[in-house]
């Protein structure tokens, strides 16, 4: 390795924040993704980068109730990554939230690591609620958790899940949707990473899933479609979900329009980046781009 890779041990609190702060955090998450994937020499860059803004708001904006010191607290909110292959963004997020030391991000996908290629419960990484990697299963697990919260534990906790958009081609996903609305799981929030990319190409070309909003509405959801890179829209979507959960009997679906590979010029909106890591040259270039964005952000902050 001709350039030095290290993971600073910065962590972030989970609280109300300004747009700039979310930007700052998402930059750090994107750096972690680039670094850990470069070191791993395999893995999924595209979706991990594309969802960093949503993770920044969900985990560090006071929307998800968790405690890294006592993470198995039964009264936590749950987050289930159904789209298991974008584990790098989840690992980066958990590390930055204090679930484990960020230096462990360097072990991604390596023999003996707790950071398995797809989340593995058997690896005992704090913050991992379930194994995932076979598309469509996580969202049903999340429905089970929301069901438990609402009808058995009778807590006012929430369950969030994220699926891909290609993942919506799995029929079991619609079983989950039907059940969530049948059981009036207003405590259930389903985020769709709608980047219109999957392995073989554009979702539209591989198997057309559209219209999406109409599908989720017909399956009984309150649906909000947002720009998944616009922090204000992400914030108001989660806020709307929290309000719905009190006023509506419907579960919420957030269709987040995103770009795969967001933040790195040469990856952005390219489905070829679904499942590959940056090589050294690309990693250097990517980190430079992120640094540049950081500098710009700091400058503009000062100007404000």
């Amino acid at each position: 390795m001709s350039f030095n890779i290290s993971f600073p041990d910065t962590t972030f609190e989970n609280k109300q924040r300004s747009i700039e702060e979310f930007f700052e955090i998402s930059l750090e998450l994107r750096r972690d993704i680039i670094k850990s994937l470069f070191l791993a020499k395999s893995g999924h860059s595209g979706g991990s980068l594309g969802t960093a803004d949503i993770f920044a708001v969900l985990f560090f904006g006071g929307f998800l109730n968790y405690d890294p010191k006592n993470w198995k607290n039964p009264n936590r909110d749950r987050f289930i990554l159904s789209v298991g292959h974008i584990a790098p963004i989840l690992y980066a997020t958990l590390a930055r939230a204090g679930f484990f030391h960020p230096s462990e991000l360097a072990t991604l996908r390596k023999l003996g690591s707790r950071l398995q290629g797809h989340p593995g419960l058997d690896a005992n990484l704090p913050g991992i609620e379930t194994s995932s990697g076979s598309l469509g299963q996580g969202v049903s697990i999340a429905v089970g958790m929301a069901l438990s919260q609402k009808y058995l534990d009778k807590t006012d906790n929430f369950t969030f899940t994220m699926t891909g958009d290609g993942e919506l081609e799995e029929g079991s996903v619609w079983e989950a949707a039907m059940a969530a609305s049948n059981y009036k799981l207003s405590n259930f929030c389903w985020i769709v990473d709608n980047n219109d990319c999957q392995i073989d190409g554009r979702v539209t070309d591989v198997m057309n899933i559209y219209p999406l909003q109409e599908k989720f509405e017909a399956f009984g959801f309150d649906v909000v479609t947002i720009d998944g890179h616009n922090y204000s829209e992400i914030i108001s979507a989660f806020t709307k979900f929290k309000n719905n959960s009190k006023n509506s009997e419907k579960p919420t679906c957030i269709i987040a329009k995103t770009y795969m590979g967001r933040g790195i010029s040469f990856m952005e909106d390219k489905y070829s980046w679904h499942g590959v890591p940056p090589n050294e040259e690309q990693a250097i270039k990517a980190l430079e781009e992120l640094d540049k964005l950081d500098a710009e952000l700091k400058k503009s902050n000062k100007l404000n």
Binding site: P74, I80, G120, L121, D122, E129, T130, S131, S132, G133, S134, G136, Q137, S140, I141, A142, V143, G144, M145, A146, L147, S148, Q149, Y151, L152, D153, G171, S172, E175, A176, M178, A179, N182, Y183
Partner: protein, 332 residues
């Protein structure tokens, strides 16, 4: 015979009653319905504990993974459907979300085997033991009758880990008692004998007892009948001892001979103490419509076949010794 039939009681009744008993003992027991509630008798639980029963409809994948979500929230969920659908329609979910997660999910596979009867091949699951016993972390039980199904259900609710209980639709002979011992993973030796060992599970255990009786009566052969109700984890000791002490083994199950309980026994046998074996089960074909009794005869799942197979296994063992004797004579 030491055992007698207490009449024909459907094994699924044991499942339904076991769930109710568990529900009374433990508030964390919850049951998921797959639109066959009154077929697999989870209806007993639903009627008694409506707040802990969730109807998921005809969606075996979803029911299985919802069960995982419940288990990861500290509940002990049971989901049951016809074995054909609760072992295969959800196979990926069983492999990854249940077994790999080591989630405390319990699956009931009802209406298994040809004794489903007139519904025919699609509904006669004969392959699930092969799949399920291959999954790490999975416990797999095929109880012999009503009482044992009840005990297996209760025992599975009281242990931690993924468990599958395979049981039938029709009424079979009930011969175990509420008192007889049932420990997951421990085979029950039902008769003493060193001439041949007969491993059976499910509906075939009773047939094995009948065959043993005939073997003794007609041939003076003392067969060791073993109820191998737990197929995973398998009881190595019972198998190795049988191989050593009897030298000839017959297995009998209402399942494909490929990959089933007999295959699991064979793995232990050749790895530890190779002896001749005979397999009774479905010979690599699908089922068909007919009455349960008719089909058991049609597919040779009966004590007559066990009887004949026992004689064949014994003959092969004895011939084998002869052959070896010759080899040894020749060598010295």
């Amino acid at each position: 015979m030491k055992y007698k039939s207490y009449g024909k009681i459907p094994t699924r009744k044991g499942f339904g009653e076991g769930l109710v008993e568990l529900g009374e003992q433990n508030p964390n027991i919850v049951v998921l319905g797959g639109d066959i509630t009154s077929s697999v008798l989870t209806s007993f639980f639903r009627d008694k504990f409506p707040d802990r029963f969730f109807s998921i409809g005809i969606a075996e994948q979803n029911a299985t993974t919802i069960a995982v979500g419940l288990a990861l929230s500290g509940k002990i969920p049971f989901f049951s459907s016809y074995s054909a659908f609760s072992a295969f329609r959800n196979a990926d979910q069983l492999r990854i979300s249940v077994a790999y997660n080591n989630a405390n999910v319990k699956i009931g596979g009802g209406h298994s085997g040809v004794t489903v009867g007139p519904d025919g091949a699609t509904h006669q699951s004969l392959e699930e033991v092969a799949f399920l016993r291959t999954l790490p972390n999975m416990t797999l039980i095929v109880p012999a009758d009503y009482n044992e199904t009840k005990k297996a259900t209760i025992a599975s609710g009281n242990m931690f880990g993924p468990t599958f209980i395979r049981f039938g639709r029709s009424a079979g002979e009930s011969f175990t008692t509420p008192e007889s011992e049932f420990i997951i993973g421990k085979a029950n030796q039902l008769t003493d004998g060193n001439d041949v060992a007969i491993f059976a599970c499910g509906t075939l255990v009773w047939e094995a007892l009948l065959a043993a009786e005939e073997l003794e009566k007609q041939k003076g052969i003392k067969a060791r009948v073993i109820n191998l109700h737990t197929i995973k984890p398998i009881d190595y000791e019972a198998i190795v001892n049988a191989a050593k002490e009897c030298g000839a083994i017959v297995t009998a199950e209402e399942h494909q001979i490929h990959g089933g309980m007999g295959s699991a026994v064979a793995e232990v046998v050749v790895k530890n103490y190779p002896v001749p074996m005979e397999f009774i089960g479905i010979q690599d074909r699908f089922g068909l419509s007919g009455e349960p009794e008719e089909l058991m005869q049609y597919f040779n799942l009966n004590h007559q076949t066990i009887f004949a197979s026992a004689l064949r296994a014994i003959e092969r063992r004895d011939k084998g010794f002869d052959k070896i004797r010759k080899v040894i004579d020749f060598n010295k």
